[in-house]
Symmetry: D2
C-alpha cells in the first residue's frame, strides 16, 4: 500500500490532540506528515514545523493558504487532519473539501446543525472521504461488540446505559489550563462544554456498537462549579427507534474519574459491558448469568474486529492504537480510491454521517435542557 502524505491544522505547542493524531498515525507508518498550519502565528507554526522536520515552505500562516497551495502541488497532501477548537472545524473542513482534499476532523464536527448539513452536502458533492475521529470506537473490543450485536447474538437491544465521567474540571477557580479554557468558553466550543466533549462520544459509541437510531432525548445539563457558563454535569434520557431506551451521564466534576467512558448494553439474550480504560477486554454476560471476560487477541473476538490487533493478547494496546485503527481504514480507503477499487463497504471508521448525528444529538439536548427537560425529537 502506498504511504500517504498528510497535513495538520492545529497541534502547536501545548496541544494534546494534535500531537496524539500524529503519534497514532505514526504507529503503522501508513502516512507521513508533510505540511501544517500548527498555530495562529507564522513564527510559532514554522517553529513547530522545524521540530517535526517539515519543509518550511509547507508551514502555512493560514489554513486557507494551506488548502490552496497544497491542492495546487503535484505532491500535495492526500488528507488533512483538523485538531483545532470546535469553533473553527466548520470553516477549515469546508476550505479543504472545496480544495478537493480528504478530511479527518476531531469531534464534535462543528457548532450548528446548519454547519453540519453544509459540510455533509459538500462531502456528498465532492465524493471526498471524511473521518470524524471518535477515537474510542476504533478499539478492537468496540468493533467486536458491533459485530457481535450485528450478528444477532444479543437479541433485540432493550436498554443502554452509557457514562463518561471525568474529574479534571471539579475545582472552583480553575478551568483545566489551556485544554479547559476553550472548552468552557461558549465562543470556542459552542453551546455545550461537557456534553459536547464527552456526551458526543457516548452517543457515537452507542450508535456504532448497537446500530440504534435516537428518536428523542430528554436532557438536564447543569452548571455545577460556580462561575462557569457552560454545562459540567449532564443527564440524558434517550428513546431509540424500535423501543429501546438509554440513560447517559457525563461529568467533569466527578473527582477520581480520569476518563471513564463506559457503555453497558442489555439485550434479550445477554449483556455486554465495556470500559475504555480497560479497553483490552470486553465482558459478555449470557442468559444463564455467567460473566465472561474476553481479551483482545482471544479466539472469541469477532474476525472483523480481531484483524485490527497488532500485538498478541496480553500485550496491551491503548488509545493511540484505537485512533490508529480509524486511520488504518481511512488511509486504506483513500488508497483504494486512488486505485479505483474503493467500495462503501470498505469504510470502517466514523464518517460525516456520524458527525452530523452527533451535532443533532447535542442540539436536541440543549433545547431539551433549556425548555425545562422536556422530550425533543431528533
Amino acid at each position: 500500500m502506498k504511504k500517504l502524505k498528510y497535513g495538520l491544522v492545529g497541534g502547536g505547542p501545548g496541544s494534546f490532540i494534535g500531537v496524539a493524531h500524529r503519534k497514532a498515525i505514526n504507529i503503522d507508518g501508513m502516512a507521513e506528515l508533510v505540511a501544517g498550519c500548527f498555530s495562529r502565528t507564522v513564527e510559532k507554526c514554522k517553529s513547530t514545523g522545524e521540530e517535526l522536520g517539515i519543509d518550511p515552505e509547507r508551514c502555512y500562516a493560514s489554513y486557507e493558504e494551506m488548502a490552496k497551495k497544497e491542492s495546487e502541488r503535484e505532491d500535495g497532501i492526500d488528507f488533512v487532519v483538523i485538531t483545532t477548537p470546535n469553533v473553527s472545524h466548520f470553516a477549515i473542513a469546508k476550505a479543504f473539501l472545496k480544495a478537493g482534499i480528504n478530511v479527518s476532523c476531531e469531534k464534535p464536527l462543528c457548532l450548528t446543525i446548519e454547519e453540519a448539513d453544509e459540510i455533509e452536502k459538500l462531502v456528498n458533492e465532492t465524493g471526498l472521504l471524511f473521518l470524524v475521529t471518535y477515537t474510542y470506537v476504533g478499539h478492537v473490543t468496540a468493533k467486536h461488540i458491533r459485530e457481535y450485536i450485528r450478528s444477532g447474538k444479543l437479541g433485540k437491544i432493550r436498554a443502554v446505559v452509557g457514562e463518561y465521567p471525568q474529574g479534571w474540571l471539579a475545582y472552583e477557580g480553575e478551568n483545566g489550563g489551556k485544554q479547559g479554557a476553550w472548552r468552557c468558553d461558549p465562543s470556542q466550543s459552542g453551546g455545550t462544554n461537557c456534553l459536547g466533549d464527552l456526551g458526543t462520544h457516548v452517543e457515537n459509541a452507542v450508535s456504532i456498537m448497537t446500530g440504534l437510531k435516537i428518536k428523542r432525548v430528554l436532557a438536564k445539563m447543569d452548571v455545577v462549579v460556580p462561575g462557569r457558563v457552560l454545562d459540567d454535569n449532564d443527564y440524558v434520557m434517550v428513546e431509540f427507534e424500535g423501543g429501546a431506551t438509554g440513560l447517559y451521564w457525563t461529568s467533569q466534576i466527578a473527582i477520581g474519574h480520569d476518563n471513564d467512558l463506559q457503555i453497558r448494553i442489555y439485550g434479550e439474550k445477554g449483556s455486554i459491558e465495556w470500559r475504555q480504560t480497560e479497553c483490552e477486554k470486553v465482558t459478555m454476560i449470557s442468559t444463564d448469568g455467567t460473566i465472561s471476560e474476553l481479551h483482545r487477541g482471544n479466539p472469541g473476538i469477532e474476525e472483523n474486529a480481531a484483524k485490527y490487533g497488532r500485538l498478541p493478547s496480553g500485550h496491551t494496546e491503548g488509545w493511540l492504537e484505537s485512533m490508529g485503527n480509524l486511520y488504518r481504514s481511512f488511509i486504506n480507503c483513500i488508497n483504494k480510491k486512488a486505485e479505483g477499487e474503493f467500495t462503501e463497504e470498505m469504510i470502517d471508521y466514523p464518517t460525516i454521517k456520524d458527525g452530523v448525528e452527533g451535532v443533532k444529538f447535542l442540539h436536541a439536548c440543549i433545547e431539551s435542557s433549556k425548555k425545562g427537560n422536556i422530550w425533543v425529537e431528533i
Copy 2:
C-alpha cells in the same frame, strides 16, 4: 442486655425474606423467635412453627389474632417482624402498633401515601419503635460513608449516581417464581414492581448516606418484557434541596446483574464509590485523584461505623450481617426503653420516617412517569 422475644408474620415455605430475617437476628443471638403467623393457612403455619420449635399455641391463623393474643400475654413478643408482600404491610403494621407492639417491617413500607401517613401518625401516638428494613444501609461501610460525609470531609455534595440492576426478570414468559409473581402483580405490590423493589433502596441509601432531601423527581418507568403490567426498567432524575442532583437507574432486565446496588457520591472535596456486592470495601477518591480502597476493619473506618464489625478485616461479612446491624440497634433501643434509658440519638436504623419518604418517592415517580416524564415535587 436482655434477650428479646419476637414474632414473625410471613416467612412460610418458599419465603426468602422471612427466613433471611430469622438468620440475621440469630447471628448475634439478641432475640428469640417465639411466635408467628407464617402462612395464610393454619396447617402450613403450624408446620413451619414445628420446624422452628415454636409453641403451637403461638402459631396463629391470622395476624389479628397474633397481635391480640401476644399483647395479652405476660411473656408476649417484644417486637414483630413483617415480611409479607407489600399489599399487607399496612394492615399488619397497624394491628401490631395498636396492640402496643414494636414493629420491624420490610420495605416499601406500604402502598399509598395515605397509608404511610397513617402508620407514621400511629407510631408517633404510641411512641413505639419502628424499623423499616432497608438492609443495605446496615453495612459498616455504608455507615462509614454517612459518618464521613456528616463530618464534612467530602464538602458539599454535588451529584449522586445510584443504580440497582438485576437480571432475574429478563425473560419473557417467566416471572421469577414465587418471588417474582407477587412483585409483578399490581394487586400485591402496588403501582410499581422494579422501582418499588429496588429504587426504594437507592432512594434510602442515598438519603441515609448523604442526608440530602429530595425536592423533585422526573421518572421514566418502562415495561420492557412483553406481557408484563408493571415497570421492569426505570430511570429517575432527581433534584435535592440545596442544589445537588441525582441520577438513578433500576432494572430487572439487566442480564448478568444479580443484585448490584451501587452508589457513587461526588462532592467538592472528593468522591465515594460503594457497591453492595463488594460491601466489605469503600472507595474514597481525594482531590488529587488518588483512589483509596478502605476495608471494613481498617483503621480508617469511622468509629461509629467500625463498632458494628464482628470479624477482623478480611474475614468477610455480608448481607445477613448488614441486616443484623439494623436489628442490633433496634433491639438495643427496645431494651434501653424498657430500662428507661432510651434517647432518640440511640437510633441507628431506618425508621418510619425513612419508610414514609420511600413511599412518597415512589408515588412522585409514578405520577411523573404517567404524566409524560415531567418534574413532580415531593
Copy 3:
C-alpha cells in the same frame, strides 16, 4: 432435625475465634450453647457465661471438669468446640473424646505428629465425629471447585499456586495484640507461627479442592521482623503424588493484605481461580482462554455446593456462613448418627484426617527449612 446442645472451650473476653464459632453456629439455629469453659479463671468464665445466658452450673473451671460433668448429664452436650491456642488442643480434644463427646477443633489440630496420631487413634476407637474447622473450605464456591474437579472437568491437575498473605505483624515492636502474642510464642503455637496459622489453610484448601496428596515439600521459613522467634514469611515448593506441583506463599508482613487466601489451580482442560476475600465468586477459565466468573447462586454452580447457599445470588454470604456450612454438615451427621442413619458419605467437612495431614505438612516444612531447604517426604 433436632436442635443440638454444645459447649465451648475458649471464647472468653478478647477472643476472636471463639465468638466467631458461636455466631457461625447461630445463623442456622441448629445448635444451642449450653456449657463452657471460656477462660482460665472461674470468675471470668462465669462472667462470660452470664453474658451468654448459660446456666452457672455449666460454666466450668477446667475443661477436664467440663468433659466429666457434661458426659454424666442426661442432657449433656452433643459436641464441644475447642477454640484455645494451639498448645492445648491436644489435651482438650483427648479429654472430650475419652468422655464420649463429639469434637469440633480449631486448626492446626495440635503441635506434634505424635499428638495428631494419638487423637486420630482415639477418634477411630471411639467412633466419634471430629470436625477440624478449616473455615474457608466451607464456602459454596470452594465446594463448587471440589465438585467440578472431581467430575473431571478440569482434566488432570498440573500445577497449584496458593498464597495467604497478611500484613498485621509487619511492624517491629508490635506483635498484633492478644491474637499475635500467642501465635508468636513457640510455647503456645508450636514450632511455627505464620505457616501454622496460614499455611495450614492453604494446604487444606488445596487438598480438599483438588484431592491431591502431597509427596514431599521444600520449605523456606523466614523470620523477617527483628526480635521475632518464629517464621513470619514462608515459601514452600510442593510435589504431589501423580506429578502435579505446587507453590505456596504465606506471610504476615505483606502490608495491605488483610487476609488474602488465594488458590489457583491449573489443569489440562482449564484453570480455576478463587480468593476468599471474594468468596462469592469463582473464576473458571476454559481452554479457549475465555474467563468466566460464576457467582454463588448462579445456575452453573455444582449442585452439591449450591445447596449450602442461604440467600439468592448477589446477597453476599461471608466468613460466618462458610464456617456455618461446616457445622451444618457436622450437626447433620451427629443427628443422623443418633437416628442410626449415618453413613460416611454424609460427611462434608474437614475431619481428623485433614487435621493430621495438616500437622504432618507443617512438620515436614519445619524439617526442610531447618536442614537448609531440602526436600522432605511426607
Copy 4:
C-alpha cells in the same frame, strides 16, 4: 533532536517482535528504518524491504554484510535492532559492535555466560551504547516504582513476589506455532524455554524496580506437557544481598493467563503491586492498610517517571509505548553522544549489565534445577 537511522535484523514475515520494535520506534518518530536483514533468504528479505519502503541495496543477505556495508556508508545506521531467536543474538551483536554500531537487542541477551561476558567486554571496549529490550520496565508506572523505592518511601525491602504466567503452550501436540517452535527448541533458545522467555523479565523487573542484587537461587524447572524437552513451568526461590527474599513463578501452561507479569514488593513502610496487563496503574499500600491506586498521569506519579507519558491520564498507553520509552532514552543518549554531551546518568533503559545479569540468573537456575533444587550462588 536529530532523527536517527536504524537497521533491523529479524522481523520478516510471521515475526511478532520485529514488527513490534518498528511500531514502538515509530510512535515518537525519533528514528527511521533504513536497512535490514529481515529473513534468512535474500528474496524474502528484499520482499519485506519493499513493503517497508527500504532501499533494496540496504536489504542484506546476511547480518555480517549488513554490519560491514552500513559501517562503511557515510549515512550508515546509527543503531541496529536484533530481534532474532536467542541463539543468534551473540554473533549478531558482536558483528555490529565490532563494526562500531550501537545495538538494541532482545532478551535474553544470549545463550551462555561466556557469550554474555564477551559482549559486555566488547561494549566496554568500544564505548558503544547497548539496549536490552526488557520492554516492561519502560512503562511509566514501572519507572514510578523504581523512583519511589529509591527515594526510601517503602523502607527496606523485605520480600518480592513475582510471577509471569501464560497459557499458550498448555496443549499437548501443539507448540504455539512459529513463536513456540523456536522457544521449545534447545538449539535455538538455549537451555530453557519458559524461564528464559518469561523468568528473565521477572528477574529484570525486580532488579530495576528495587535495585536488589540476587545472591543465590533455588529453582525447580519442570517440563509439564508430554513430549516437550524444555521447561514450561518454573518455581524459583531467591535470596538477595541485604536479606530480602523473593519467590518467582513463570508458566506457559497456566490456561487463562495471556501474559500476566505481576510484581509485588513488600517493604518496611508499605507495599506496591503492579501488573503489566494493567500497566496504567500502580497500587501502593501504606502502613495503615489503605490501598491507593495511582494512574499514570496522576499528580502522585514520580517526576522522573511521569515525564515519559504521552497522553493525559485515562487515555491508555500500552506495550508499544513502554518499549517506545526505552527507545526514547536510547535514542536520546545516541544523539547526546554525537553532540558530545552524553553522561552515564542520562541512561534510562536496561543496558548490557542487565543483559548479563539475566543470563547469569538463568544459568544459576538451570544448575540448581539439574542438581535437585539446591541453592546456587550467582
